[in-house]
Symmetry: C2
């Protein structure tokens, strides 16, 4: 069983991004936050730190956990119009009554470096240029880095979120995989997932995927980042048990996560260099 | 085996649409054409005739088969801004060098009654209000009309076009089916399609789906409209052979087609009544 770590790939993407970041004006990423959620704020701090490491400026725009949806939308519109800002992301969770999908429609697609605007998703699905969500792009980057063949292969994605499962299904289809999307209402999940040559778990349910869900030799990508009682992270896949069946498996942490952050920054550098 | 005809359903939708069309200003649909293709022009004439039957005005805007993409885009923008026009569709095929997906981005989503703008597809995928493509909506309307249960069922869509396969996958996911998308690169198509409880063929390849592709008792929806040498239409499904295996099957013609046209008109009437 091969462990598909993301650290070397992330480092390579960061090095390339640092070079791209010096090619024009300094790239600037604005992160809009309207939460007091610890995990969300931790992630934002990790982005800011990683941005600094590759020469990208990162502005935290904190509207507070009680921000009205109108104010969030206006902020995204203002940042989209600011020529000094090249990338705009809206951190979740949001205050009650605010729809991330609806609000992200206010992010200029050319600055939508985490592919959150429904227009970006639609363009992705239609095969037009767009930034995909960084997490979905990270799954593809890992598959490419480890030279996993996709053409005509059976890929199964567990999870149908707008930020991971759905865009990932389109990216896999674009690479000519036969793609199945499963979710919480899927009957006999293991019967479906065990047909996968490439299995991607993106459910947010710790340990959901066990050995009975995996075909011998399958490539398994674990997108889950579930908090553990001791303050760590664990994936959607029961790593130790699945390691005995899968041909290759990403660890959590250290798999998809670091590649996601690196790609978010690469998208920002590229947004700054758009003609 | 039950034959799932679309004629009664289409008639019911037209009757309802005729009532909706009298609720406010007369709905007006503009059809932009830039082709000399016979099938395309035949379809446009059939829309115009059906529109007249339910009290919807239909303008044919013929730019000729040599229209430049810029002119097509400007026309879509102008019609989108015209308060007397409620629905705008762009008929394919288009002149060489023109991208239907890219040009449809010029159709106001509120008038995009055939769900062609990538933003409509993205909003559909994100679970936000949008007009789905009429063909994809017609498949769902037929499944509902014949009370086909979708929750947790295995649905397989053959074909990954932006106008049918991809939006349909999202509509089926939204109804909690487990959804697989197959296409020309799928290996052992019959092995995948024969797992389907609901099978939708949307490939444009006459007779591609035979009895070996279909599980006993499956519900099969045939979206194909392939011309026959005698001037008729035939589907993607080998009707006579599959009828011996399937539990239910749509005919071609007389299945999805009439429902598609009726829904395009319903979308136009609803666009005219949007607040």
């Amino acid at each position: 069983m091969k462990t598909l770590t993301g650290k070397d790939l992330a480092a390579a993407i960061r090095a390339q991004t640092a070079a791209e970041a010096t090619a024009g004006p300094q790239p600037r990423l604005a992160v809009v936050v309207a939460t007091a959620d610890d995990a969300g704020l931790w992630y934002v701090r990790s982005i800011a730190k990683a941005a600094a490491g590759v020469g990208i400026a990162c502005d935290l725009v904190d509207l507070g956990p009680d921000a009205r949806p109108e104010r969030i939308g206006e902020t995204l519109t203002r940042l989209s119009a600011d020529p000094n800002v090249h990338g705009v992301i809206l951190q979740t969770p949001l205050p009650a009554g605010a729809s991330a999908q609806e609000l992200a429609g206010s992010i200029d697609p050319r600055k939508d470096v985490d592919g959150a605007n429904p227009l970006s998703l639609g363009r992705l699905a239609a095969g037009l240029p767009a930034f995909p969500p960084a997490t979905a792009a990270a799954v593809m980057a890992l598959l490419d880095h480890y030279e996993v063949d996709l053409l005509g292969r059976r890929a199964v994605v567990v999870g149908r979120s707008t930020v991971v499962g759905k865009p990932l299904a389109h990216l896999l289809l674009d690479r000519h995989a036969t793609v199945t999307v499963c979710h919480s209402r899927t009957r006999d999940l293991a019967a479906v997932t065990s047909t996968a040559e490439v299995l991607v778990a993106a459910t947010g349910r710790a340990g959901l995927i066990g050995p009975a869900h995996v075909a011998p030799g399958a490539v398994v990508i674990d997108v889950g980042t579930n908090p553990t009682p001791d303050g760590g992270l664990t994936g959607d896949v029961d790593f130790d048990a699945v390691a005995g069946v899968a041909g290759a498996l990403t660890p959590v942490p250290g798999g998809v996560g670091p590649v996601t952050t690196a790609l978010l920054l690469r998208h920002t550098a590229r947004a700054a260099n758009l003609p």
